[in-house]
Symmetry: D2
Subunit: 320 residues, 4 copies
């Protein structure tokens, strides 16, 4: 019998090329260091490193960069059986990061015809999804066809088979054709998910979403499937809402920030790990917050993912 998985993440695996020399404009950066990137790939690595049994459904390039990503994820303990290689010569997405200062980070992305957008229904078996307790869908996977339909189908399979669906909004405007498309699909999947996680800005993107308070946002979503909604407010911390009306506030751990990239992925990793280990929602917010705090102080988003000990040390050092 096939082993059960705690979590499958679904969507984008990419390569980050981080400025080796930073605190300067990218024009003056002459060397770049290579890391695995992409929100659901980072969360797979992050949660695996925290001890969960994790797989990923993804599509990478059939070249040296694709090999690197698969190798790295394997070494991180992630089940890579359904990380497929694109057979049409499509390349893996690239993200060059520019770190002028902790406050001024920007990215330069290569996403045209990126392999991840071509993940399709025929790249995975419904049976694989059934083996998981939870599937995490990344918003970016909805941005283009056929990845969009693959994600919608994966959600359908999960729902029919009692697999919990986490929707990480992961909204990246440049991957979408229009705000109207974003609104339509983000809303459709958010309504079908059990848990929805995103920043305040990301929730604003949904149908009828702009200008809503957190309370209005969750009221509308709770009319559908969601049971738990996490809205992140950056340095102001995060707020979790439950369907039965509870509101739980999470606080942040101050740190010396190197760059802001990777905060969301590490937050999700810590948060999901804690929930799977029967922590309370309040504790889960703090695990997420601590993980994020650690990653933003380091150079990468994947390689920097903390261990449980790292997280708990940080949390303990702030007690009292």
């Amino acid at each position: 019998m096939m082993e059960k998985l705690d979590l499958i993440t679904f969507g984008r695996a990419a390569v980050d090329l981080n400025a080796t020399e930073y605190n300067r404009p990218m024009e003056e950066t002459m060397t770049f260091t290579k890391y695995v990137g992409g929100s659901p790939a980072n969360i797979a690595i992050g949660t695996s490193k925290l001890g969960l049994n994790v797989g990923m459904i993804a599509k990478v390039s059939d070249d040296q960069h694709g090999n690197f990503v698969i190798d790295y994820m394997k070494k991180s303990g992630v089940d890579t059986s359904y990380i497929k290689k694109d057979t049409e010569g499509r390349k893996i997405g690239l993200t060059f990061t520019e770190i002028k200062s902790p406050e001024e980070c920007s990215i330069l992305m290569y996403r045209d015809n990126a392999a991840d957008l071509y993940l399709s229904v025929s790249d995975f078996d419904d049976e694989y999804i059934k083996r998981a307790d939870t599937i995490l869908i990344s918003g970016t996977s909805l941005s283009q066809s056929p990845s969009r339909e693959a994600a919608l189908h994966a959600v359908d399979v999960a729902k029919r088979n009692g697999v919990e669906v986490i929707f990480e909004l992961d909204y990246r405007p440049y991957t979408w054709k229009s705000e109207q498309e974003s609104a339509v699909y983000m809303t459709t999947v958010a309504r079908m998910a059990d848990i929805v996680i995103g920043t305040r800005d990301e929730f604003d993107v949904m149908e009828n979403g702009e200008g809503n308070s957190d309370e209005e946002t969750v009221k509308e979503l709770f009319e559908h499937s969601p049971q738990l909604i996490v809205i992140k407010h950056g340095v102001k911390g995060s707020r979790a809402f439950t369907k039965d009306g509870e509101v739980i506030e999470g606080t942040i751990y101050e740190t010396k920030v190197l760059k802001t990239f990777g905060a969301g992925d590490s937050f999700a990793s810590g948060f999901i790990y804690a929930l799977k280990n029967d922590k309370s929602i309040k504790e889960a917010l703090q695990y997420g917050s601590a993980a994020a705090s650690i990653v933003v102080s380091k150079h990468s988003s994947s390689d920097a993912m903390p261990t449980v000990a790292d997280i708990e040390n940080l949390m303990n050092s702030h007690v009292g």
Copy 2:
């Protein structure tokens, strides 16, 4: 104050070019007669002719064919305020019909970059939808972007504002990229609709749909929004299912069939007309059936749409 509409149909308006000389292969047909076509356009004309107050949201070509369609629909009493003209030079879809015999009808379609597929969210106002009691979405409008997102958005607006949603499956395989895409989007909209109408074959297209009995199909859909589902079985008649477990059988009216085109659109017209006029579901099935019987005996799908008197005469002539 703006007038209320009984019905808005949403999607494809096209031109049919029907073989003037029939009962022969199209190669030997030398002249073609022009009619308005497209399932939701036909239903708008059909229900308007039956006396409903009807509008249509559509996009046609900015040329003589587009003008013809708008003119014809206006003359049929349809509100055409939101039948927009494509500004990028796209052409209206064409359907050449070949009628070799009543049993052997086929069509030759020009659908590449058809104007209707470019209907977008910005082509209509949410306010227009709010003016209607009911909006009818045609499955073909889901087959490509941006018409797909426009349809999903229209359904979202209708749902938020208490406008009833009828989903006419209108599944035309050649307009879709793959069966997987069809399954994903047909299922998504069917679940959000209040009333779903289609042939048995069309319901088979949905997620997990193939090989299901009518009872399995409706069981699954009734877990979501639908209240009423009509499954058509061709010459065997139709079956209506209600959420509270009722099953109503409709019978057909035999006629001398000229061609099978237009049967579904006239059925929907008669059925919707009857429901809006407080007929029972059983009666509505018979109105639909009578309307279909009349249209398949004539040359066109739009121009042949019957009046209430035509339908009731036929129904009365079959009583007892």
Copy 3:
């Protein structure tokens, strides 16, 4: 041994749908009559009817319209061995004609992804071209890839093997992405051709062409391959220029014009027929002019192509 061909025409074969009821706007035309269309198809039919041994290299749809075109051309005596059917479901181009009055004719074209634009190098054998004395390239075949490269390759094969190249400019702006593209490719092929035929407007489209006199136009082209250039000036007649400096004027035959379509194709047919039958250039211009005069007085562009007797009767009736 394979039979020699007097002429191969290369490019577009299409279907014309001519208003059956004319002298009115197309909106009010309710029936259309079907004919073969497309400049090089018309010229193949026209020259075949005049007695030349003619073949055509083309690509049509694999449907009833494609069958009709092939059948009609076969019946007209054209060798159709290299009229291929598109295997990707692409449709044949359509031209609806509107004849408001002899002076106000317009057309409504369906050209998106038309089968003829997908004619490719692998659809024909170089050997077939070598069997011909002359190949006629139509400008429209240069408007998009891969038809463009197929045409350039056909010219290359012809030039290497001593096959005469006639370039019929046949410039249709709507089939081109930009005037810059038109200029580049029209010029490239005109320079490689032996004979170039076009209207004054069409010559204006070439690189550095606008505002040139006939004399400047031909001077530039005579620096390259062309030996004979025909510039048509509508009702003012036509002018032929030879490389060695001769200028020959052609006159028109007045007629009762029904529509202007088809004038160019019939002119080319008569002109080429006459050259192949050792008429003088002056005589060839008159054969072309007479053929054009006959076609513009009739309803179609292909079916109306005259016989030698028709042409010579007209010419004789104007002598003296």
Copy 4:
């Protein structure tokens, strides 16, 4: 009055990301060093460094990578007035290099919708071309529209205005849709050029080219515009052919090869510099060969471009 330019290069400017740690598979390379790349960009830099007055017509991304390329070229003395920035968000091409050993070098390219392929006729003025003695067209610029038409137009302008045209075949199969397209366009431009430079393999790509001897290749081209043709045979040296029948052999300078990239661009730079400085063809071949020898021993293709002193020192050290 505007300054005269010795040379304008036309086409691709890109970014090379060369493995910082080499002699290993790219999967194990963790850092990459950034350089300007792209054959005509390298030749512009190379010839400018040798003292020619050089400009470039190109299109780069409107981002940090595009800025870097323009800055670097400016610093190298190249006139960048017509290096335009893409306004549609297209990215500059990337080339990751893998150096497993001097014999096993490979590249991983990001070329999808690369900015250089969108260089169009409207991005430059004909007047700029008229200011140059020579324009060098790179074969890659012919691989897609609209760059293809821009290149064909540039050649047309050059020819009409007495500007010498050098065609550097620079054949990169992965940028082309098919070998048939390559053959058609490479041949068309080669016939219009004054000087053609390429490897034996590149000449094989042309129409009717495969399996030809050098003598057959040049015989065919000399029937058209070319006056001088250089065919490179790798370690066996190069051969120059003149229209009047001369054949000149060039020899190579042995060196410790780090990688083979950049050999062609440095050869062209040295060769063109020498011709512009009234060296003999034999000498020009040796300048090219010496420049190539220097670049293949170093890490980059652009930054490693030698000075005149570097080249002449190498040449002198091999005399006698």
